[in-house]
Symmetry: C2
Subunit: 324 residues, 2 copies
């Protein structure tokens, strides 16, 4: 490929966004491509409006999971979980899901039963109805696409684009090394946490950490008008799995916490007063990791006040070769 800046995943998504024609006046679309979910004002125009959230994710064997190792139930769990995590990122309530699968022909029915059990486990916890699907078999590897519909609360859906200079940046849990112990297969969608935080404070911007903190925080900053951030090196909560990963590859645990993906924690920004209130009331686990700045660029601040730039290592699905 030529210039990675014009041919990678994010350039492609940008290109697709730019192709969208002007929407008809009665369009449902309030937010289209480019956030964790799209936001549709369903029934608008009929006087019966309702803010609907929709998100879709496809997982492929050998890329997002290894069927041989984890079995189909783990795949179903992850496929449902990553979508629920996107609903959480908007502070939404999941309601219904549809599922499409390409099943390896040899064990199609057995795999389907396992996938279903894994999806159902999370669907039961979050009261999600499985309302439809498409079942196929082939000689290729397992592929599953889950699409989840959710509902914004009366406080409205939280977008990536609302961060403001001076905002405090918070995350809901420890980061890094999700591949080390298979945690990337068991996303814990932070639905209840997001709703509790959203009730307690005005969340300016939020995203779920699927591609890695440096990359996902970068999306918030870019979508909020080209802002920057300073992160406190000692404040970033590091997951024990990140240390385990360090023992294997020698890369520092902090680096893993900054750049690894698939933690599925939430990263959010709130006004300083709101942050204080949240950290005192702790409606959910919350870690203060830094603040939003006017000037673009993400920097890491050491305890001595010295700052160094953090290169966002965006996980790019069109280029990366490792399992995700």
């Amino acid at each position: 490929m030529a210039d990675p800046g014009t041919t990678g995943e994010f350039a492609l998504i940008d290109w697709i966004r730019r192709q969208e024609p002007e929407r008809p006046v009665d369009s449902w679309t309030r937010v289209g491509i480019g956030d964790d979910c799209a936001i549709l004002a369903v029934g608008e125009g009929t006087g019966a409006g309702c803010d609907l959230l929709i998100t879709t994710d496809m997982l492929m064997d050998g890329r997002h999971f290894h069927l041989e190792q984890g079995g189909p139930e783990a795949v179903g769990f992850k496929a449902m979980g990553v979508n629920l995590s996107d609903i959480a990122a908007m502070a939404g309530i999941p309601r219904a899901a549809v599922v499409a699968v390409a099943l390896p022909r040899a064990n199609a029915v057995e795999i389907a039963h396992g996938l279903h059990a894994g999806m159902r486990a999370l669907a039961d916890r979050f009261a999600v109805d499985l309302v439809g699907g498409d079942t196929n078999a082939w000689d290729g590897p397992l592929v599953i696409t889950v699409t989840v519909l959710g509902q914004a609360t009366v406080r409205g859906a939280v977008r990536r684009s609302g961060a403001r200079p001076g905002d405090v940046i918070l995350v809901t849990g420890a980061l890094g090394g999700s591949l080390a112990a298979g945690r990337h297969l068991k996303p814990e969608p932070r639905i209840a946490e997001a709703l509790a935080i959203h009730r307690a404070a005005d969340i300016h911007a939020m995203i779920d950490l699927s591609d890695g903190l440096s990359s996902d925080l970068g999306h918030i900053l870019a979508e909020s008008g080209g802002l920057g951030a300073v992160l406190d090196a000692v404040a970033i909560p590091i997951h024990p799995d990140a240390h385990e990963q360090t023992r294997r590859d020698g890369v520092s645990a902090l680096e893993h916490a900054l750049h690894d993906g698939e933690d599925f924690e939430l990263c959010l920004t709130v006004a300083p007063e709101a942050a204080e209130r949240l950290l005192a009331a702790h409606p959910a686990p919350l870690y203060r990791i830094g603040e939003v700045t006017d000037a673009a660029g993400v920097f890491l601040r050491s305890p001595d006040g010295h700052t160094t730039p953090v290169e966002p290592r965006g996980f790019d699905h069109l280029r990366a070769g490792n399992e995700r």
Copy 2:
């Protein structure tokens, strides 16, 4: 596999249907698994109800298309078209779509652009917003999942389950041989036709012909409480492609019209008076092919009044090996 009756696609879908737990009282779900679309009463409980339709379809290279032969634009067109056809089958209005893709790594961006152009062509015609997606690349074949949201009209969504004994069975176009000339890649979603028919008459039951007339009509009859049908052999509109297919394989053109899939015409049932009115007013192309009977079983009636049973050859995605 053991008994095909308990291990095929339809048995699996049935099994999944039976696993669904009792729904919470505030569930959106009005119709879940088992029709062309699910029906969700979005915003119910808030007093802001709206009947939402959702459908999803996954297409895989080598199975539903051949990327090498048709190129990515044809794939995008088909992926959007088969979903719009499901919206048509409920007499719904398509509104928004999300797309997930597994792109072959070598030509990922080029293929994505082609897919987008194909989807956009149909999305433009039917005013569908592309509101989100998920972009992946891998070393496997192209897989695409499109999920479409639609809206029921004020007359309500048409289901498969409303056929009544004595109903006239109609189809919107000629059938058979869709593989012969590649017509299966160019579904013409009968959105406008379905809406026009629904305005002119009360449609009791409807389905789009994706698996083949004998199989899809069988779904209407089964879902309507185990009814049957008599089809007039000479009344079934046979597509020129079915004759072409006959020249290739020696199977009669009528057999192709009865059992081939992917015509993407609509099959509907209406009361006899409504059928007369429709056939006179012709709001859309309509062919009267038979009537619904009390007794189960589908029969073919020759001009001399002799009837022979039609075996539904349900296209089963878990078993079949041919391209679809």
